[in-house]
Symmetry: D2
Subunit: 357 residues, 4 copies
Amino acid sequence: MSMMKAAVFVEAGRIELADKPIPQPGPNDALVRITTTTICGTDVHILKGEYPVAKGLTIGHEPVGIIEKLGSNVKGYEEGQRVIAGAICPDFSSYASQDGVSSQADGCSCHGYKPMGGWRFGNTIDGTQAEYVLVPDAQANLAPVPDALTDEQVLMCPDIMSTGFGGAEKADIKIGDIVAIFAQGPIGLCATAGAKLRGASCIIVVDGVDSRLEIARQMGADVTLNFRNVDVVEEILKITGGRGVDAAIEALGTQLTFEQSLRVLKPGGTLSSLGVYSQDLSIPLGSFLAGLGDHKIITSLCPGGKERMRRLLNVVASGRVDLAPLVTHEYKLDAIVDAYDLFANQRDGVLKIAIKP
Amino acid sequence: MSMMKAAVFVEAGRIELADKPIPQPGPNDALVRITTTTICGTDVHILKGEYPVAKGLTIGHEPVGIIEKLGSNVKGYEEGQRVIAGAICPDFSSYASQDGVSSQADGCSCHGYKPMGGWRFGNTIDGTQAEYVLVPDAQANLAPVPDALTDEQVLMCPDIMSTGFGGAEKADIKIGDIVAIFAQGPIGLCATAGAKLRGASCIIVVDGVDSRLEIARQMGADVTLNFRNVDVVEEILKITGGRGVDAAIEALGTQLTFEQSLRVLKPGGTLSSLGVYSQDLSIPLGSFLAGLGDHKIITSLCPGGKERMRRLLNVVASGRVDLAPLVTHEYKLDAIVDAYDLFANQRDGVLKIAIKP
Amino acid sequence: MSMMKAAVFVEAGRIELADKPIPQPGPNDALVRITTTTICGTDVHILKGEYPVAKGLTIGHEPVGIIEKLGSNVKGYEEGQRVIAGAICPDFSSYASQDGVSSQADGCSCHGYKPMGGWRFGNTIDGTQAEYVLVPDAQANLAPVPDALTDEQVLMCPDIMSTGFGGAEKADIKIGDIVAIFAQGPIGLCATAGAKLRGASCIIVVDGVDSRLEIARQMGADVTLNFRNVDVVEEILKITGGRGVDAAIEALGTQLTFEQSLRVLKPGGTLSSLGVYSQDLSIPLGSFLAGLGDHKIITSLCPGGKERMRRLLNVVASGRVDLAPLVTHEYKLDAIVDAYDLFANQRDGVLKIAIKP
Amino acid sequence: MSMMKAAVFVEAGRIELADKPIPQPGPNDALVRITTTTICGTDVHILKGEYPVAKGLTIGHEPVGIIEKLGSNVKGYEEGQRVIAGAICPDFSSYASQDGVSSQADGCSCHGYKPMGGWRFGNTIDGTQAEYVLVPDAQANLAPVPDALTDEQVLMCPDIMSTGFGGAEKADIKIGDIVAIFAQGPIGLCATAGAKLRGASCIIVVDGVDSRLEIARQMGADVTLNFRNVDVVEEILKITGGRGVDAAIEALGTQLTFEQSLRVLKPGGTLSSLGVYSQDLSIPLGSFLAGLGDHKIITSLCPGGKERMRRLLNVVASGRVDLAPLVTHEYKLDAIVDAYDLFANQRDGVLKIAIKP
């Protein structure tokens, strides 16, 4: 039995490289040889034991690679083809998917839902920080990568680009909108790029790290606010002449950014929430006009599937958006423990790390 | 100068009948002689001093009456015509209205919003619990009442029917949906009727008063739950086989009902909130899946304007919905202090009181 | 090899009962023993040779039956369970489905579409007018039938109910809308029921057969017009005070009904087209205001999949809609040639025929 | 009585400069002194007698100017302020506007519509090719111009930018869409800019004039096709791998471009039609799959109102879109007859002409 290297969760605080057998694809799977993957903020939650996964599970959910072997039911692909798959690999035959929420999944009861059930890599099945990964429901989830694009150019598609753009899409941005985006980590930066793609005419971004605010400008931000220097709520209300923004995107997952998002939002506006929260949220009475402000609060999980990936690849290929500045570092898979250390401690201006098996 | 009777706010705890001059319409106003009006839960908040209005203001925002005099710019109506106007009388020329939120209004800055600015009767201008009322922006707000309909039949259109139906509309109900509605006061009952009108195939309603649950059945409820007898969250999850409801409507304005609405909502579902809250809200982490559940929370204020009223009058005229059972009492305007006493204390199974000047 | 009876297309003008082997399910299929099926207008087009299918193909696309055998990949069902499947059995893993049009399908090129590709029964694979049928992509398409419902009650779900309701859904009907529906055959009648379910307050239906207009009243029609007696365009404009209807549904597929739908439609209104046309359509210049009327014309194909079926079954179970009056006749499968003769010639007030193997 | 110069319709073939009294504003009007205006394709239809207007009417509907005098009811503006108003000046109090179609208007009957009723300048009231113009419903229609923007920069906002962007908005473009746009006159070019603003990743444009195709590239076109050199339907299907485009925008108003738009559209796609047609349209049976292709055809008229203008001005101010290349010529109002001659005959690469009183 052939063996491979894989980054596995050992216990809270420890992700280590281990040897595992290369898996064999079932009829609906594809075995993909990873050429590039990366580490996500969620992986750090797993590392710290804040999000529970099974011991021994391979971590990671952002694959770029080559089809090594196709399951017998998977048609229209070829072994040797370069592909990506979304961080979320939906089962599109499920009630949940047919009902329009493919990132969720069916549960144990006949048509109950399994929350976040579409997220399988590095959560409920072995993930992508390894030499090989099995892509489930491959027919629905494998997306061919155009030859002209490098691994690095498409590495953001599976998760942060899909999530960030999704945040802009759910914010229902209209041409001429003023949009505020709270936090400019990788997902917030993609939300900025997404807001520009949807026609916002003024994008105000907030973060505490100047280097991120600078990259935000490259992504389309018109106004950058460092919350260490200004009262961002006051400033945004001033910029908008007291009107508030048409849409706010929360891209961190804290009470403070959630609340600020509401406080700068016009009556009738949409708060698109991308953050993963770790505690109960409070909605201050005044911030949503006691329930009479025609506000919308929309949470969302990263959209997946091959059609979503195809569209994101189109965007990359068009040159409309260049996410290359987000890949700040590169590590060998062998050195992934060091990469986690760098990323978890946010040293050296790290945004995303290309991991190469 | 001719005088009229009007119910005015004196101080917290006191609404009294007073004599006031009959107002004269400006060029865009209409003077309407009230034939029937009613008391709303919001008026009770005003009575108790929980919602501040100017001393001496005439209360009430639900007018049925006869056009007494038209402003010089108001075209297409006739004096003597029977009309209603919405509780919310939007200024449709405002930035807010043109932006799709006509229940809000423009504020002091050039295009800032005035939250809830569309609500003027008994809030920022004299209201309808009087012999006469001035309807502002009359061209946009006067809706003729078909002869075949009685005052009582159309008395719910200006506020609770528009609000309750709006709650069902914002819940984005689809054919075959399972919907839960929390609280079956007048607005919750209208939300029930609205959910049926939109094609829900199973409407589960929750209240603590059996007589209201009975009326809810007349409005279209399929399952009625008295929260004094059952754990409603557990029961609703059981009824839906663990899946949760497609949409939940909150029609009270408390932490408990808001939270229950979230707890019974499927991933991807919509919480349509109608209640007027009086304190900060808490969103428990689990109830919205840490922000990853594709949930939507939508608040809304009663839609107004003559086109909205025309459609609601169409529904009444069609016989699709009969809200007559909601008018449980009738009082003369002279006895309105007694009517407030009955209504504020929710005695005698009161739902809505027809007030007749 | 076990044999079964099946109604097969022989040549234009001839559908005959033939003996065929009972098929064996592949890993993603289910073999269903048909207990009730029916004949659709489309089948008559096939019979007449107007819509080409392969010689020897089993016709029919509306199955009610019992699971006889499940493919090895199909989970969560049991042999012996009573089920339906939609007339359209989408492949939800396709690009087309993931893109929101599951009734279409992927084509030969990597992500081109195969128009109407979701329609397989009696079109590209053997259909349901037989003792047994193979349901493709069974995991996505089998919908369990509640015990309390009879075959006749659910027989309309796979096609005409899904199509007719879909027509009302695509018409974007709002509470208080006035809707006109052209033709009251089985699909038009279901569109009438659907329009009522969505909250139309006035439904005007048009047909040339008085008995159909009578059934239309049971389905929710408020005004019935026999085009043999009145100028329907003139009449509808009169009823609407010159305004036109908010939405029109075309349910036949002719130039005349399409054109009338446009002529009675208000500026800004939606024409939802369900008919299968057999010739080029003409849009008269005046009927759509030279392209400046803010009109929407939306065509649609019957939605399928187990979630759609689940919702329709919910509607039937709720008693909101009773389509029993549409099943006017019953025939044994052995007599299906006679049934076609009755149905194709529209004798004896036939609407739908229950066919029993 | 003070007099002014105005370009008036005399008879088919003749628009001439005439002297007219400077009008006085009624209570809801504003008198605006025109500083820049332009000629639209619609004006040429009027010139040729193809679209009937009253003899002696002042033509033109694209105003940039200075408020000279405000009606007594118009609040929040100042005389001397620079403003624009939309080509369409809606009456937002109308049933039509409250119903969501503000470019249409109420008709003679109580709530019938007046088609295109929002278009008043140079159609039903005196227009903008004059020294002064009365803006009706000024409170709703006057939009202040930021000081930093020149007249030329904002001259496209009232009509072609609003129309063209509207065409992209109605096409429901999604991130990653492939869009085809037929005709690259001023409106088609704005549709191209609008499609880019909405996130299309591949914009294919079609015209017969190479210089227009070149400007189209500046507006965001990725692929330009000259219909004189290629079979555009075949070419677009080839580019899209047989799939067809996600959305097509028709920006001319002919049978050919309408039909080509349909022929390149994927099943489930949207055809957004902007053209003003002058004859009946034919929909070839195959082009819309006999009515079973889940196609949407949406026509629209230019959106107006001060909120729309505010948003378009935001876009111009942001630098996201630069329409300066579209203003190819400048004429004095005195020479407007020559300007019409140039524009009507499309000489000298003319796109839009700035007219200066």
